[in-house]
């Protein structure tokens, strides 16, 4: 980054890193930063923890409320808040207001924060009106790419066409659609460890769809789902590689897939 002075916070984009990307795959967050910066935005990453999604879905409303208050004070002064995850963005956008009674100042704050919070592809396509240049990926043409629509992004935020558009522009390939692209992969946050057997059956059903689409690569927008699918594929000895869609949109080589090393 250059030595130019940073713009005021109200002009900056804050990245909501998301816990899973922070811990297990920083490359996704780096990709998100690169993509947002590409369209002229100044990106900041305030020191953050978790949006509270696991607590919210476990029924721990009080604990979620405390985390939500932290997040509000951390992010409310930025122009946009962008997450490379549909479920984290939806937690803020859709569910934060449910934590506070309507008419309260906190509820009002949540509504305002929600308005400027976006899932990455939704932001790039719908807000930044991004048109990505085509990049020359040596084997992109022969590569079959399937896309898993993570449930929160799909049903709570309407993320479906956006990542497909970005991938189409950038890679010049069409998605090999799976018949079950909109069916839950069985991750479900704590669900996958609470009911591992059911979760495994669900991810196996997802893999049937991946195999039918003859996909070399599976993409998606939520690392939780992707770790679940990638982990099961790897265990079954499949050749299909799994990435977050943002990793394939950057200028650099995406490197090893989730669960692989150089």
């Amino acid at each position: 980054m250059s030595a130019t002075a940073s713009p005021p916070k109200t002009e900056q984009v804050a990245l909501l890193v998301t816990c899973l990307s922070d811990l297990f795959r920083p490359q996704i967050a780096h990709a998100a930063v690169e993509l947002i910066e590409k369209f002229g935005y100044w990106v900041d990453v305030p020191r953050q923890t978790c949006c509270g999604q696991p607590a919210f879905n476990a029924g721990e409303k009080d604990k979620t409320r405390i985390l939500a208050e932290n997040m509000i004070s951390l992010f409310e002064s930025y122009r946009y808040v962008i997450a490379p995850s549909g479920s984290c963005a939806a937690t803020i956008k859709v569910h934060y207001p449910e934590l506070f009674s309507e008419g309260s100042p906190e509820h009002e704050q949540c509504m305002k924060l929600g308005e400027k919070t976006h899932e990455l592809s939704g932001f790039l396509v719908d807000v930044a009106k991004a048109a990505l240049e085509k990049k020359s990926l040596p084997d992109a043409r022969s590569m079959r790419i399937a896309y898993h629509d993570s449930c929160s992004g799909l049903r709570e935020l309407g993320i479906r066409s956006q990542p497909r558009k970005l991938l189409g522009d950038r890679l010049g390939v069409d998605i090999s659609e799976m018949s079950n692209s909109e069916v839950c992969c069985g991750f479900g946050g704590l669900f996958c460890v609470k009911y591992p057997e059911i979760s495994t059956r669900m991810v196996d059903n997802k893999i049937v769809g991946i195999e039918k689409a003859e996909a070399d690569v599976l993409l998606g927008g939520d690392l939780g789902c992707l770790m679940n699918i990638a982990g099961r594929l790897r265990r079954l000895g499949s050749e299909t590689r799994v990435y977050h869609y943002a990793e394939l949109l950057t200028d650099s080589d995406p490197g090893p897939a989730i669960g692989y090393q150089k």
Partner: protein
């Protein structure tokens, strides 16, 4: 019906090993989803009907006393009788009181999920009556001595082979031969049931809608068994629940457009029949007595809670057909009358949360059920509401309680959080470096994480946390 919901974990695990169940559910799932989609697309303003249905039901639920008394007085005016049942015991007692006459022996039954709640069949059989289920699916599971696993397709878990064996076992003595083909199976059931229809003394059916301003019962079926059950015996008893009342025929028109499409992907089910009181003097047929048993069983209590929306349910089954958990484990695992998403909301309310502690968690909150529900019940939100209640009641397990507590302490403090996450990433990376087998980029096993690693690899984290990498970048700049 006996509640076994607290064993969900075990029964679900067993169900996953049942290959017949997997085959049966796999076939059903595809059929239900594709046909529904086509039927919904055929109706241009389907969404407007959903909104209409939601509003209509909300209105009725807000004025339930008014519509129920209107319905009652119109049933009485057409010569029928109305019985109010507060709970399951009362349902069985009322029906037994109607049936206890010297000349009554055989009872035919159309499909009624409400009667399953109080195990009415068992109650009638214990009192010496012969009860014959006449819906094909219900008949099959009655022979198998099982309970329904789906609210509109009670035997959806059965393969054709299983039905062949079952019919052979039960029909052989009466001189029937073994049937294998679908059509032959249906025809044999039809023949066996026809004898029962003609010799039954009482017919018990459920109801899909109760029309307040005419006192009519709307019964919607695909087999016509409901009509034969209702019309041939001298006594027709309708066992139904209080939330099924709707204002008028106009409303019925709206609901009919939604029900067939949502349930079976039909534009309209095959038989839609309205019953109005007993046979009138110039009627050629019909029962001489017409009884409506209006069942509460906890519904009026739900009305006053944050779960009120579940009472809009028209029992179409779309939520379970689209639920990846239901289609994986089948309906029996849920342990009571109503399975799938609507069941996971309703069961804890009707039998008590302590008897069904797992059901609210048996869901990934993927939201697909909510998008197909014809009356727009926010099912995932209601399941989350159950979870909130379980947390407040201290009914979650020790692991979850302490885990959540510890996690929330860490997540509240950014400095502590970044220390802990960095340490965790470091630990996993050291572990990966120490064990050569993990240098492939994935763990096959991690202590304390067996629930994940028993069936899935877990990725080795990339070097360090993003936030620590970002801090270095900021310093570098």
């Amino acid at each position: 019906m006996q509640v076994t919901s607290r064993y969900f974990r075990t029964t679900a695990r067993e169900a996953l090993l049942d290959e017949d169940l997997r085959a049966a559910m796999g076939r059903a799932e595809g059929g239900f989803i594709d046909t529904r989609k086509m039927a919904v697309e055929e109706l241009e303003n389907f969404e407007e009907y959903r909104e209409f249905a939601r509003k209509t039901k909300n209105h009725v639920l807000a004025h339930l006393d008014y519509y129920l008394t209107q319905f009652e007085s119109n049933v009485l005016a057409s010569g029928g009788q109305v019985h109010w049942a507060g709970n399951g015991e009362e349902v069985n007692r009322i029906v037994l009181d109607i049936c206890r006459r010297p000349d009554i022996r055989k009872i035919t039954k159309g499909k009624s999920m409400v009667s399953e709640e109080s195990a009415l069949n068992a109650g009638l059989e214990a009192a010496g009556f012969e009860v014959v289920e006449t819906d094909l699916g219900e008949y099959i599971i009655q022979l198998a001595r099982e309970t329904p696993s789906h609210i509109i397709a009670p035997a959806v878990h059965k393969t054709r082979q299983a039905v062949t064996d079952l019919f052979d076992e039960h029909h052989r003595e009466a001189g029937y031969s073994r049937v294998v083909e679908r059509l032959d199976i249906v025809n044999q059931a039809r023949q066996v049931l026809r004898d029962h229809f003609c010799t039954a003394d009482v017919g018990i059916t459920g109801a899909n809608f109760l029309i307040a301003d005419t006192g009519s019962i709307a019964l919607i079926t695909n087999e016509g068994n409901g009509d034969l059950t209702a019309n041939l015996p001298n006594i027709h008893v309708v066992v139904t629940s209080i939330e099924k009342v709707i204002p008028d025929m106009l409303a019925l028109g709206g609901f009919l457009r939604l029900l067939g499409r949502s349930a079976t992907g039909q534009i309209m089910s095959v038989y839609t029949t309205l019953f109005n009181g007993p046979r009138r003097i110039d009627d050629l047929d019909g029962p001489e007595e017409f009884h409506v048993v209006l069942v509460d069983s906890g519904r009026s209590e739900i009305l006053g809670t944050q779960f009120r929306d579940i009472l809009r349910c028209i029992k179409c089954g779309a939520c379970m057909n689209h639920c990846p958990v239901y289609t994986s484990v089948g309906g029996h695992a849920y342990g009571w009358v109503y399975p799938g998403p609507m069941g996971s909301v309703l069961t804890p309310l009707m039998v008590g949360q302590k008897k069904a502690p797992d059901l609210p968690y048996a869901c990934t909150l993927n939201g697909r059920c909510k998008t197909v529900c014809p009356v727009m019940i926010p099912l995932p939100d209601l399941l989350r509401e159950h979870r909130n209640n379980l947390v407040e009641m201290g009914q979650t397990g020790v692991v979850q309680r302490w885990g959540m507590w510890l996690w929330s302490i860490v997540a509240r403090k950014p400095v502590l959080y970044s220390m802990m996450t960095s340490l965790y990433v470091l630990k996993l990376n050291l572990l990966a470096r120490m064990v050569p087998a993990f240098q492939r980029g994935s763990f096959k096993y991690i202590p304390m994480m067996g629930a994940w690693t028993s069936s899935r690899d877990f990725p080795v984290p990339q070097a360090s946390t993003f936030q620590s990498q970002w801090k270095k970048r900021a310093l570098h700049d």
